[in-house]
Point group: C2
Chain length 229, copies 2
C-alpha cells in the first residue's frame, strides 16, 4: 500500500519565529549610513533574509558602484554589532513557542534554517528554547544562504526526510524562492512585514499572519498530528 | 469649450516624501513596550499613517482590553518623544526634493497633508524646504486624520481646487482610503514598506517605487507640465 511520509516543517527564524526583522532593517540602515551609503529603508527591508553576500551584490546594483571587500566586511560587521545591540528588544512572535511545542508533542519533525550566522541568531534561538535534537542550520554550515535552497536541503537531510515531504515556512520572498528551488512546499507568514500578495506571487501555497495563525491552520497543510509510530 | 482644471497633487509626508516610516514604527514599539503592551512590529507598521486616535482604537482591538485616557496619552507622548530622538536619522526619499521643485517650476499646485502633528512633522518639513505659500495640513487643523478624508479636503480647499481634480499621493492604505472617501484619485508609493498589491487592492490608480519613480511618470497621471496661464 502506498503511504507517503508525514510532512516535516523547515522554519525560517527572523520574522517567522522571532519579531526581529525591523531591528535587522534598522541595523543595516545604520551600517550603510556609516559607510556613506544612502539606501531607502523599504529597499533594505525587502532584502533582509537573503544571504549577506547577495545583499551586498544587491547593494552594488542599487548604488551603482563597487564596494571593496574591506568595505563589505566593515558593513557586515557594523550590521552585526548594531543588531546585537538592538536585539535586546527581540521577542518570539505570537504563537511561536506554542507552535514549536505542538509540533514536538505531536511528533511532527521540524528544523530551523536561517540565512544568519550562529553569532547573530543565538539570542533569538535561546528565546525559542529549541529542544536538543532539533537541527538548526545557519549560514555557517552552507556556502550559499537563501534564496539558494542549500539551508533547507541541509535541514531536510539532518531530519532524514525527503525535501519533497518538507514544508518551508518563511516571511520573505527569499524563503519562498528557496523553497521552490528545493522543490519543497512554501508557506508564507506576514509577520516579517511583506504583503500577502508578494508572498503569494512568489509561490507561497498559503499565507498566514504569524505562527499563532499557522498553528490554528496546520490541518490546511495536511499536517495530521498524532504521535509517530 | 469644456476645459477641465489641471490636477493638483496632495502629498502625504511620512513614507511618501521622507524616509521616516520605520522610525515611526520603532517609536510606537518603544512606547507600547513601555506601557506593557506586546504588539508585533509588522502590525504596528500596517497602522502607521492612520490617525493617532484610530491607532489607539486598533490597539484596543488587538490587545482585547480598554486603555485609560491617561494610558493613551502617555503612549502617544512616549511615541512623540522616541520619534523626535530617532528622527535625527530621517532623510528625504530619493527624488522628493526634485519632485517638489518640478511641480513648483511647472506651476502644478501641490500641498502636504499628514496625519501627524506639526510638532512631529516639523523636522521632516524643514528637510523638504517647502516654499512659502504651499499649504501644509496637519492633524492640528482637522478633528479627524486619515483615513478620514478631512486632511485632503482641507488641502484642496486651501489650494482652491476641487477635490475631484486632485491626486492624492501616499504610501499607506490609509492614504488611499482617505482619497477614495474624498473622491480624489489615489496614487501609491512603495517607499513606506507596503506591498504593491496592498495599495492596488485599496484602490490606488498607479503604484510607484518612490518620489523619483513618480517624477519620471507624472505624465501617466495626466500631469502635463508647463506654466499656468
Amino acid at each position: 500500500m502506498i503511504e507517503s511520509a508525514r510532512p516535516a516543517l523547515l522554519l525560517d527564524l527572523d520574522g517567522t519565529l522571532v519579531d526581529s526583522v525591523y531591528q535587522h532593517v534598522v541595523a543595516w540602515r545604520e551600517a550603510l549610513e556609516r559607510a556613506g551609503i544612502d539606501l531607502s529603508i523599504w529597499k533594505i527591508h525587502r532584502r533582509v533574509g537573503m544571504s549577506g553576500g547577495l545583499f551586498v551584490t544587491a547593494l552594488r546594483s542599487e548604488i551603482g558602484r563597487d564596494l571593496t571587500s574591506v568595505q563589505e566586511e566593515s558593513i557586515r560587521r557594523d550590521h552585526d554589532l548594531a543588531f546585537q545591540r538592538l536585539s535586546r528588544d527581540v521577542r518570539p512572535l505570537p504563537g511561536a513557542l506554542e507552535l514549536l511545542e505542538r509540533l514536538s508533542a505531536e511528533g511532527t519533525l521540524w528544523a530551523i534554517a536561517t540565512s544568519g550566522t550562529m553569532a547573530t541568531a543565538r539570542a533569538s534561538l535561546e528565546q525559542l528554547r529549541i529542544p536538543a535534537g532539533v537541527p538548526v542550520i545557519t549560514h555557517d554550515q552552507v556556502a550559499f544562504a537563501k534564496p539558494n535552497p542549500d539551508l533547507f536541503l541541509a535541514a531536510a537531510a539532518e531530519l532524514k526526510v525527503s525535501i519533497a515531504d518538507a514544508i518551508v515556512v518563511g516571511d520573505s520572498t527569499w524563503d519562498i524562492l528557496a523553497a521552490r528551488r528545493a522543490q519543497a512546499l512554501g508557506v508564507g507568514l506576514l509577520s516579517g512585514g511583506y504583503g500577502r500578495a508578494e508572498l503569494e506571487t512568489a509561490g507561497a501555497f498559503r499565507v498566514y499572519d504569524d505562527p499563532a495563525d499557522l498553528l490554528g491552520h496546520l490541518y490546511e497543510l495536511g499536517i495530521r498530528g498524532g504521535r509517530r509510530p
